[in-house]
Amino acid sequence: MVIPRFVVELRESIRAAFRALRANLLRTTLTTLGIVVGVTAVISIISLIQGLDRTFQSQVAGLGTNVVHVDKYQWSDIMDYFKQRNRKNITLKQAQQLADLVTLPTAASNSVSTRTTIKWQERTARGVDVEGHSPQGRIVHGLDPPVGRFFTDIEARERRQVVILGFGIWSSLFEGRNAVGHRVRIGGHAFTVIGVLPERGSIFGRSQDNKAIIPLETLMKRFGTRRSIRTALLASSTDVISLVEDEARGIMRRIRKITPGAEDDFALNRQQMLVDLFRGLTMGLFAVLVGVASLSLLVGGVGIMNIMLVSVTERTREIGIRKSVGAKRRDILWQFLVESLVVSGVGGVIGMALGLGIAFAMAAATPLPAAAPVWAIVLGLTFSTSVGLFFGLYPAVKAAGLDPVDALRYE
């Protein structure tokens, strides 16, 4: 097999580069630092944001894309939380009126939630989200239990003590056994299990299966009436969602007796608002990330250029020697380019390992999720080697262009 001449020469370039880098190990290490910091920042932040994004998307998907949520609070407006807290609660009566009066939505469902303990025999599940829903909640929120059934209109009206368990509660209390027909105690009251919901996974380290569904009015009766009710209105498609909103706003203003010109004392929410809010937050993070990363990559690149210029000067004589025995311009060019590529590439690999390490350590230690997309890894490596290539080019061209006579004479 004939090895191309270029390969033989390139191998020498790589060998020479590594020899030079080994000889100045401390200097090499310090030079890579800028790149390491930059790539670490990029990779760790991207991994965390990606993790957040993915879990967030799957979470909000459960809210439905064509559902308008009439609520006391505006979800996307964290700043005005304290102002909105002073609003009067939406009472069950008001919510029911709204649900009765709207004509555009295909279904309307009221809900409220509390948090309490569920017991079965010797087993206890604490801090369970117990949600009270109208019978329409099955349609609007997609709460179709694969095991058992949802409660009926009659059960809801008569405030029966029936419950549909979330997957997590069911598995921790019943450990895989049949639960339907058994009696559990919710906050001290006996409830009959009529169904089990499918598994939904967790978000921010909190299980989405750690909940139980009971009729809304049962909840109000057993756990108190001083709660603000939320109404979910299902639009037939995303095209009519703003019409649904307009109608709901008009009806709510009448129900709440708001004088013309006064502000709404309720809010209309959509899943898209949460997505937008979250996008806004992560875009901000991305902007900061890009700033930090490009700054440290720039600093790292200038560091590499500086060291490469020193290296070229130090090894002027070596360049002269190599040229005197027949090294061409491109041989010398490659030798120094490979050197700066190795420095930046090694920095990139170290940075990537550190970044992934940090991201997944954070994911393990905190509720924050992490995900390492392949494109982020490719991006990190491409970025760092491009920096090496860009900032290594000038010193390498300088080295390649040296006059052999002058280079040999250099002391």
């Binding site: 002269g320 005197s324 025995v325 027949g326 061409k328 006059d403 052999p404």
Partner: protein, 239 residues
């Protein structure tokens, strides 16, 4: 008639020193044939280093023609010159000029690398060259682990390894003591006897006398050109 390896005609070389132009060579004609052992002598500043660099294809003349084995060199590109240095010229320098971080073997392999020789053949030929200068047992030593004489032998092995047409030795004994210097001259003499053409630059008469022909440079011109050693050659310069 044998084509000369080196044929210089009307060679001049100017250097720009700031605003001034210094003419280092002022019209040199020189022919060197195969299996000649030529010493180039001259005081410092005479232009002998410039001549040496031109012959070695490290530099190109300002005017005149230079044929290396019949090929015009004076208009060649940097890469073409590099090719000639790689394939047909072996350099031996006063300061050895070895790569300090590479062992003897790798130093000798260097010209073969730039001619694209595959690794196994490269190693074989480099070992052969090192053995021929008596350093077969020092191949994995770095320059700083070798004596001056040994370093110069490594340099000679490097000069030899690509079977060049000519070996250019620039003050090869200048950094060595007399005994070691003699050893190196013996090695060169062996190479000459084996059929290599050698050009030796020196300012020492007794070293120049190892050669068969002495060319003296003075003020950028050839001062004298004669075959001196009666033991090897009886002819004198015919032109």
């Amino acid at each position: 008639m044998v084509t000369p390896i080196i044929q210089l005609k009307g060679i001049t070389k100017d250097y720009e020193m700031g605003t001034q132009v210094v003419r280092a060579l002022r019209g040199v004609d020189l022919e060197i044939k195969i299996n000649e052992y030529v010493a180039i002598m001259g005081p410092s500043g005479s232009g002998k280093s410039t001549l040496m660099n031109l012959i070695g294809c490290l530099d190109t003349p300002t005017e005149g023609t230079y044929h290396f084995e019949g090929e015009p060199v004076e208009r060649m590109s940097d890469d073409e010159l590099a090719e000639i240095r790689n394939q047909r010229i072996g350099f031996v320098f006063q300061t050895f000029n070895l790569l300090p971080r590479a062992d003897a073997l790798h130093n000798v392999e260097l010209p073969l690398i730039y001619s694209g020789t595959p690794a196994h053949e490269r190693r074989r030929r480099a070992l052969e060259a090192l053995e021929s200068v008596g350093l077969g047992d020092r191949v994995d030593h770095r320059p700083n682990e070798l004596s001056g004489g040994q370093r110069q032998r490594v340099a000679i092995a490097r000069a030899l390894v690509n079977n060049p047409s000519i070996i250019l030795a620039d003050e090869p004994t200048g950094n060595l003591d007399t005994t070691t210097g003699e050893e190196i001259l013996t090695v060169l003499e062996t190479l000459y006897a084996a059929g290599n053409a050698i050009i030796l630059v020196t300012h020492e008469q007794y070293i120049a006398e190892h050669a068969t022909r002495i060319v003296r440079i003075l003020d950028g011109l050839i001062g004298s050109d004669e075959y001196v050693d009666t033991r090897r050659s009886l002819s004198t310069v015919s032109d």
